[in-house]
């Protein structure tokens, strides 16, 4: 099996995949991994070419939007050692068309699908569980610590939903921030996080929400296990109703 290496960045991975899909006779027999995982790396190093990576992504998403979505969600998972599976998946899709995504009994299709769904599930969950707080200057801030790096799909969801207010979403553990000012969405990084001052009405609104949360449950039907299975405790840290 031919082995290739890349520098570990997302652009590096997609430019390597592009190189392999174009130049290798049988991409299905090729492996791809990030460089430096072991002392004696084997395989040819492919340099990062940002333009090449974005061209590949643009073409692939235009031709196979559903499959491209699965690929991107796998990238958001930040799972190690995934490159070969993504390479083979993109190869299969370009060879057989988007319909191959339904071949769920195939190991490559299955692995990509399962991982993409895991990430998509967390993104969907946080669409509901993310809590914004109003700050003293009238903008809104939401903090989160998701398992996967899902700030991108979440931010684009909220630009459509909360388009008339200024907001920030902060991934506390990764130090990533996105900001919407009513017109444009920007991404940035954060060295350290200082809790800003909250708006005056914030305390009252939170109290209202907590009251609603407590009284909406029927005491005779109390079921903690069911609650936790839908709303795992790892998300409670930033939930107003679970403070």
């Amino acid at each position: 099996m031919n082995a290739f290496r890349y520098d570990g960045s997302t652009e590096g991975m997609f430019s390597a995949i592009d190189h392999i899909l174009r130049n290798e006779f049988d991409p299905a027999a090729v492996s791809l991994a990030r460089q430096g995982l072991s002392l004696f790396d084997e395989g040819v190093f492919l340099p990062t070419d940002t333009a090449r990576a974005s061209t590949l992504l643009r073409r692939f998403s235009a031709a196979f939007p559903e499959n491209a979505r699965e690929v991107m969600y796998c990238v958001f998972s930040e799972k190690e050692g995934l490159e070969t599976a993504l390479l083979h998946y993109m190869h299969m899709v370009s060879l057989h068309g988007s319909g191959i995504g339904a071949y769920l009994t195939h190991p490559v299709v299955h692995d990509v699908h399962v991982l993409a769904r895991k990430v998509a599930r967390e993104a969907h969950r946080l669409k509901g569980l993310l809590r914004f707080s109003m700050l003293a200057d009238g903008s809104y801030l939401a903090r989160m610590e998701p398992d996967f790096n899902i700030i991108q799909p979440l931010s684009s969801f909220f630009t459509r939903r909360l388009r008339t207010q200024d907001w920030f979403i902060c991934d506390v553990r990764r130090g990533l921030v996105s900001r919407w000012d009513g017109k444009r969405l920007e991404y940035g990084t954060l060295e350290s996080f200082r809790t800003p001052e909250l708006a005056e009405e914030e305390r009252d609104v939170r109290r209202c929400w907590k009251t609603f949360f407590d009284t909406i449950a029927i005491p005779e039907r109390k079921n903690d296990r069911l609650q936790k299975s839908f709303m795992p405790m790892k998300y409670w840290k930033y939930l107003v109703e679970k403070e």
Partner: protein, 416 residues
Amino acid sequence: MDTLEKLRILSGSARYDASCSSSGSSRNGGEGTLGNACSGGICHSWSDDGRCISLLKVLFSNDCRYDCAYCVNRSSNPVPRASFDVDELVGLVVKFYRRNYIEGLFLSSAVMKSPDDTMERMVNVVRKLRRDERFFGYVHLKVIPGCSPHLLRQAGLFADRLSVNIELPSEASLNILAPQKKREAILEPMAFLGSAIGESRRERRRDRRAERFSPAGQSTQMIIGASPESDYQILSLSQGLYRKMNLKRVYYSAYVPVNEDNRLPVLATPPLLREHRLYQADWLLRNYGFSADEILSEEHPQLDEKLDPKAAWALRHPEFFPVDVNCADYAMLLRIPGLGVTSARRIVSARRFAPVTPEGLKKIGVVMKRARYFITCSGKPVERLFDRPAMIRDRLLLAENLPSATPLKQRQLNLF
């Protein structure tokens, strides 16, 4: 009274409404609008009883002139009464929505002065949300039985979903437990909504700009276990509602005793398992092509509490099984226990590439602990028990950790 106290009273009395779905409608606002609605629906939290919270579920008022036996807000109950102001409630919805606490509003109400007076106030809330706040989130409005058609029409243009509660599964029970509510006052608005929704769908197929009337359809709710109707009667009623009234959902709410009243049964706990089985059977009606007569009958009017209704049907009909997953059509795949709508669809797609094996079925997401007794893969059975339904039943119960049908001793004797 301040908003917090009103919220405590009016959400506390709204909690017995089972529905909290926010699906089935998609709205996309433009410049300057607040929010949108996702057709899949989004849950924003889960309450301590494990039920999803996606909407701010409140009553407009709990000041009721009716005296229904099962209801916490009946006029003879000495509970604190409160009513929202229109502006107050609108403000609360917007504040919650901007913080991403909710997907929208579920508004119901006790009947205050008259059905029309109450309904009009509720319509005012939605009108203000849509017109003044330019709110594009989800709104579910509960129709007050007996209100005039012109209010229904307005409500349908502003809300995503409307519903009229049936409350009890038969007219006889309604007469005993809710003597001031009349069957016609419930069914008439339901029929009106059914035809208005159908009309608006047809209209929109001709012209995409035509006004939408209750785009997420209509639903209803009935209380289970407060009156003597059988599961068969309840399911037949639901089936009628789906077929004749064009309903999207029927919600079943296990009766929670909140009042002392000798017209009501005495229950130690709400019949939650029965409610669960009814929901399962309801899914079979809506999504799996079953009819009520296949699930139950006059002779067997109650659902089996231990087995899910689809497995129970399969065990009563060994003549349909085993089914070969590699050649059966979609409708037949749906009838295999352990297979849902998604996995059946996935099997149909995946077998175009290669025959599906038991391993592949697991990958697709089939629940093999149930399906294994009812299928073959290209002629090869997974288990050879097709002709012994009693044994399959035992194994199914065992797999669900439920006490077996046959006593353990007797089964052990069979081994020697």
